[in-house]
Amino acid sequence: MAHHEMPFWKKYIFSTDHKVIGLQYGITATFFLLFGFFLMILMRWQLAYPGAEIPLIGKALTETGAMTPELYNALGAMHGTIMIFLGVVPMGVGAFGNYLVPLQVGACDMAFPKLNMMSYWVYFVGGVIMMASFLMPGGAAASGWTSYPPLSVISNNAQTVWLISMVFLITSSLLGSVNTIVTAIQLKAKGQNFMRWPIHVWAQVTTAFLLLLAFPPLEAAAVLQLADRVFGSSFFLPSGLVVSGEKWAAAGGGNPLLWQHLFWFLAHPEVYVLILPAVGVVCEIVTANARKPLYGYKTMVYSILFLGFMSFIVWAHHMFMTGMGVTLSSFFQATTMIISIPSVIILTTILLTLWGASIRFSVPMLFATAFLPMFAIGGLTGLPLGLTASDIHLHDTYYVIGHFHYVVAPGTLFALMGGVYYWYPKFSGRKMNETLGKIHFWTSFVAINFVFMPMFFMGSKGVSRRMYDQTVYTHGAATQSWNVVMSTAAFVLLFAQIPFIYNMFTAWKTGKKVENDNPWDATTLEWAASSPPPHENFPTPVEVYRDPYSYSPTTGKVLPQFAPQEG
């Protein structure tokens, strides 16, 4: 077979192997996650000690060495953009989806391996362009990750670079999502049918549909905004704009709200793009470590599908304060309350899986367990934001920041970190160090709650988001000390990632070798391949014999999907 003689660059750089591409996505996304976190550390320094010189690197950033409002806004926009589009989605969908979906359905590779390679490299180029925008005169894009016009249209040139980068990133996601859908549906192994898919596959396929259907409107919107900036059109610019006392030279006649509708039509499903892969990962970890089948497999599947569908008709709850009338807001409030139902069912189903279990507290299980209450806080705090009356006070305050960070950081990212510990033996044939893993988990778990919990206190006082220095306001000054606590916890959280990164890189060569290909004694199909799997995964075609989470009714022992019979 030809792949044995493949040169290094073809095997590891421009590879078409879904596993190599998955790892490429994982490593690149890890870099971006750390970089996005580092941007926030700079902002957190400013928030805790407004105007104080930034230690060590301050002089390299600004003339005085202290944060400027321009830099703060740029860092804020880039933190959001990098974390979402270059960090969490490529990690959840790019890395986990790519590596695991073909293995879990029993396929040799993705349906379109070259498209897969292209998807990664388009993402890579988008990432490079986004990073390059820091070098633009005047700094990086500074209109928030939401890029609301007219601010984004009248702002500095880095916004143009931001938009070009977004076009690349969206294109990459579209290529990836088509591939995932076709692979999961068309390349199922013999005996593998829809109702035998592991939950992770269901989650990834639903996510792929969300990306496929929701991203094109944003891509179109990004092109329109690009036209507004570069060609002087006015899709999002109304007539009669006066900027700094001067009439803005554009025809006008457009509407800034049009952008918001197009943006949130993507960006709300995007929230579920962030969550669903994490839910899938948690289900796999919990069932394997609870040593019993998942409670209510079908309920879970239908909840995920319903959640995916509903995520398309809640977007305007981000826009309650933009002059929305009674009829429209009633509709979007109702859909927002309805979408909480499948979310509660998903959480309840995982919790009920723990009843009567024999829980093995491995490091991945610690992260998966912590996901449950953290995701619950994130989800519950969405309720007051989803009702217009309570949203009047809480909209655009730190309460919102606390809400979605609980969903994405100690929620999704904890789940994905658990996933790294869980599937590391699959990637490498070795386990990550348990002690370092436990240190990583406990310090992160404590620190992250001190970062995000005070946001609810500040937000309910009315502190607006995206502020360089909140002490300008009386209610900001009255809550300022929370910032000192939060920033300190954020610094601790940064250091808490050192054992994880160290562990991840050193275990590749020095980690404890796994005794067999299925070290967690799990039931799903990816463990039928050797660890790490060879090129094309399964030397002989695998066959699937039963449901994804089966245990023998007589002995109680695990019954993997791929085992022909008990024993």
Binding site: Y49, E70, S244, M321, I341, H395, Y473
Partner: protein, 264 residues
């Protein structure tokens, strides 16, 4: 740098700057919002603590240990179904009895213009222009060609209706106990008009004018905050929201009128 750090930590150890909970509410509609926020948080706490106790119990009771085996028999519990139905009913009640009425009242049940104070607020980077119609109750014509440093809203002083119009920057004075109707707009980018103490928030979007209303029940000096990122000065876009007695408010109007005539 050292002094700033020392001050920040001094406050932390003194326990200063750790406020939490809702700010005071001086509006007539605010208590409905506050009680919704309160009810929701009791409900959230109840669910979270319930789930939490269950989770911790499971983690202890069903931990892996010698002699303990997982129960793998298929289960179908009915409690979660009742819980789910309960949550649905509760959320439906919140929608129908709390949120819908408050929103409908704020959006459709406007006070009579004749007996209210009507003002136009035009946001810009990074200030709030407050335009009062003056004694005649009529706003003068505005024209963006007239906008300059001394005329932030482009008021056409030639227009008879504009003669007594008062434009103040960042000073939003209202009389207590009288409904206020705000016609909210923006000149350049989107801003967020936010009165934390009056439970008022609305985006100010260029090219559009949104009416909103509120009524105060206490006097005092408060702030207008900007809720929506509007550029480098977003953080310092503070306005002053002064709720005066009717008498104080009338005196202020008189003074402003006097300043207008003297200026001519």
């Amino acid at each position: 740098m050292k002094e700033k750090l020392a001050k920040a930590w001094h406050d932390v150890f003194e326990g200063v700057g750790f406020d939490y909970g809702l700010p005071i509410d001086i509006s007539t509609h605010g208590s409905a919002i506050d009680s919704l926020i309160g009810t929701l948080h009791y409900f959230m706490a109840l669910l979270f603590i319930g789930w939490g106790i269950y989770l911790v119990y499971c983690l202890i009771k069903f931990r892996e240990r010698p002699g303990h085996k997982a129960d793998i028999s298929p289960k179908n519990y009915s409690i979660p179904k009742y819980l789910e139905i309960g949550i649905v009913i509760f959320e439906a009640c919140l929608l129908v009895f709390f949120s819908y009425p408050v929103w409908a009242k704020l959006k459709t049940d406007f006070p009579d213009r004749a007996s209210s104070l009507v003002v136009r607020i035009t946001a810009e980077q990074f200030a709030w222009n407050i335009h009062y119609p003056g004694r005649d109750g009529k706003f003068g014509k505005t024209n963006i060609d007239l906008i300059d440093g001394t005329n932030p809203v482009g008021l056409d002083r030639e227009d008879p209706d504009a003669k007594d119009d008062i434009v103040s920057i960042n000073q939003f004075n209202v009389p207590v106990g009288k409904p206020v109707i705000v016609e909210l707009g923006a000149k350049d980018v989107i801003h967020g008009f936010f009165l934390p103490t009056a439970r008022v928030k609305h985006d100010a979007i260029p090219g559009m004018v949104f009416p909103l209303w509120f009524e105060t029940k206490e006097t005092g000096e408060f702030q207008i905050a900007c809720a929506q990122l509007c550029g480098v000065g977003h953080y310092r876009m503070v306005g002053y929201f002064n709720v005066k007695t009717q008498e104080e408010f009338d005196n202020w109007l008189l003074e402003e009128e006097k300043a207008l005539t003297e200026g001519e």
